[in-house]
């Protein structure tokens, strides 16, 4: 049973956010016998309530609170108040994620070493290596039921994948398969297997895809040591005169403010809200915000170098049927500067329904060039590009000087401008994607611009030196030892891989560290 904790209970670990990082950490701690409260800004929507409808689901799950944007990225023009498409509900963005679960490559933990200094980028080596994370990757893959690990079979390929695979073969790509997906190909861990419904991005109504909502959190709650408090939006982290954090002030669904006392606070609100909360928690002792003596909170906002390539064929495809991210090509994920850029990218199948295709294929476009693409919707195939982008201190989450939320707190301002390396990589990927589809007989291809960000990373980065980042190699704030960051904002650099598996692995590792430090009475 879920354990309700008293607001004045200062022995609990309070986690802000219930997604890949927060949901995993909370469940891990509870299973170690540690009293834990997760504050989740959104409601609890169980998986049978998800809807197979893109806009209705967006209304049900998405984080729609106002944000502002800056920089030259096209999202700032097309979606000025929607820089990111992430979730505000129990389970966070693990409710709507695609399920791709890839390990970082060894060199991606040491980009400064391998890529060298790149002008206009703030590359830094992670304070951990692949070897440090490997045991946790293995645990996470088992926990999440990742296909092609632990003897779990791959998912069957849908029509969209079959086109990708045929094109990959023609181009000579070797590493193309139906992915390492946290989607059951057979019943496992009490969860159903994939029914090829589509609508992965709207929440899996079968529970076949791993999500903290129904995979991790119930296991934590079953211990009696975890309380998940929905509709509890953190507005400020409190601290005492010694500089230790003491609790979290949050607003409930009626806007009433309460403060949950805490022994330890872990921030896992995704890479936009996490730095915003630290900055909004400024005090006379910490005038620049919590954990921000380095000035790095909010800096180095990364969002992966993305884009899509869609193609039209003279025969039907029905690419919306089945697993949304149904296949991957990994050949371009390597670091090979002969292509004209540092780092690499993955190509992964993607499909959108008619409503989202209309909104995202070429935002703002109109006329026959645009509409004839949609006329052949059922003859379309599509893929998404996900590659490593350069961290830059000019790309940042800051507090908007004017706009405030319902509780009077400044909203996040998200500024992003592509680095030349990002543009070179995207253009290379556009060419490869188009060539792949042309090789299978596409009559028309579309290099589609990036959507509002789904992979938000890096705004509270991990560093060896306190002057270069916000947290240490365990996600513990350099400045405040009982304050942790547990989401993708601790990424030092982004890698080419979808980030969830790494976030979950870091959370499992962090739980071990927190438990150890608590029993040693260090925190």
């Amino acid at each position: 049973m879920a354990a309700p904790y008293d607001l004045n209970d200062d022995s609990v670990v309070v986690i802000i956010g219930s997604g890949a990082g927060g949901g995993t950490l909370g469940s891990e701690l509870a299973q170690k016998g540690i009293d834990t409260v997760i504050l989740e800004a959104g409601p609890r929507v169980e998986y049978d309530a998800f809807v197979n409808d893109e806009w209705d689901s967006f209304g049900q799950l998405a984080w729609k609170d106002m944000r502002t944007t800056g920089g030259t990225w096209r999202v700032a023009k097309d979606f000025p108040n929607l820089p990111a498409w992430i979730v505000k509900a129990v389970g966070g963005s693990t409710t709507h994620w695609a399920g791709a679960s890839l390990r970082f490559q060894e060199h991606e933990f040491k980009t400064l070493t391998h890529y060298g200094k790149i002008e206009g980028a703030s590359l830094l080596d992670w304070p951990i290596s692949l070897a440090d994370l490997e045991p946790y990757y293995a645990k996470a893959e088992d926990r999440m039921g990742v296909t092609r690990t632990n003897g779990i079979e791959g998912l069957p390929g849908n029509n969209n994948f079959k086109i990708m695979k045929a094109g990959a073969d023609k181009l000579g790509y070797k590493d193309c398969h139906t992915g390492n997906m946290a989607i059951n190909s057979a019943e496992r861990d009490g969860r159903n297997f994939c029914q090829q419904t589509g609508f992965c991005f709207q929440g899996c109504k079968w529970g076949a895809k791993w999500s903290t909502l129904y995979s991790e959190i119930p296991k934590g709650e079953a211990t009696g040591k975890l309380e998940v408090r929905p509709n509890a939006q953190a507005v400020k982290i409190e601290h005492d005169a010694s500089g230790k954090v003491t609790g979290v002030t949050y607003a409930d669904k009626d806007g009433k403010l309460s403060t949950q006392k805490a022994r330890i606070v872990a921030v896992a609100g995704n890479s936009i809200e996490s730095p915003r909360l630290l900055l909004n928690s400024a005090s006379s002792m910490f005038p620049n915000g919590l954990a921000n003596s380095s000035g790095q909170v909010g800096k180095n906002y990364m969002r992966h170098t993305t884009g899509s390539v869609y193609a039209i064929f003279d025969k039907p495809v029905h690419f919306y049927r089945g697993t949304t991210m149904a296949g991957i090509i990994r050949d371009e994920a390597k670091h090979d500067t002969s292509r004209g850029f540092a780092g690499g990218y993955e190509l992964e199948t993607l499909a959108l329904g008619v409503p989202f295709m209309a909104a995202f294929l070429d935002p703002g476009a109109w006329g026959r060039s645009f509409t004839t693409a949609l006329d052949h919707y059922d003859h379309m195939a599509g893929m998404w590009i996900v590659g490593e982008d350069m961290p830059r201190d000019v790309n940042a989450v800051t507090l908007d000087p004017a706009a405030k939320d319902a509780f009077g707190m400044p909203v996040a301002h998200v500024s992003f401008t592509d680095h030349a390396n990002d543009e070179a990589m995207r253009n290379h990927a556009y060419r490869q994607g188009a060539a792949l589809y042309d090789a299978v007989g596409a009559t028309r291809t579309f290099p589609t611009p990036p959507y509002p960000s789904t992979h938000n990373l890096g705004t509270n980065r991990m560093s060896d030196k306190p002057s270069e980042g916000v947290v240490n190699k365990f996600g513990q704030a350099h400045d405040i030892k009982n304050l942790f960051v547990s989401d993708g904002s601790q990424f030092t650099t982004g890698g080419a891989e979808n980030p969830t598996l790494t976030i979950v692995s870091l959370a499992i590792r962090q739980a071990d560290y927190i438990a150890q430090e608590m029993s040693a009475k260090n925190i």
Partner: protein, 179 residues
Amino acid sequence: MVTIYDRRPGISRRDLLKRGGAAGVGALLVISGTAVISQQDAWGLETTALKPETMATLIQMARDVYPHDQVPDKYYAIAVKSHDEAAAKDAAHKDLIEKGVADLDQRSGAGGYRGLGWEEERVKVLRQIEETPFFQAIRGGLVVGLYNQKEVWPIFGYEGESYSKGGYIARGFDDIEWL
């Protein structure tokens, strides 16, 4: 209150033309009183705040912005009717739409926007105003207003909700045969 009628029995083309002010909208739409009527497909859209001529122009404009020859006018009418509802509640919105349409007509010459026979000619006029708040309000509203109508999805070959049918595991998720 805007009403979409599926059928208007009793109004023949002759009846409509006999009423004062009735005018042809392209080949298909007819203005009658406060309504835009499609003879051919037997539907009508009644306006409350906007002039029916304005609504007829919006319907034509909607088709010119997002032309799908296989999508009937009815769905374009449904997609723009929210502007009549908004105009009824908000004088500024009414002003934006009426002035925007008047400007469109003025730029289109003696016969007005709907008097231009070729889509290409109308698009030329739309290109002149595509940065205006009026155009952006109409275009922006259409992205959801037109493409989120479940009734138009089958026209594009999109099957929509699939959970209740057991997904596609036994319904063709991998049925491609031409590769």
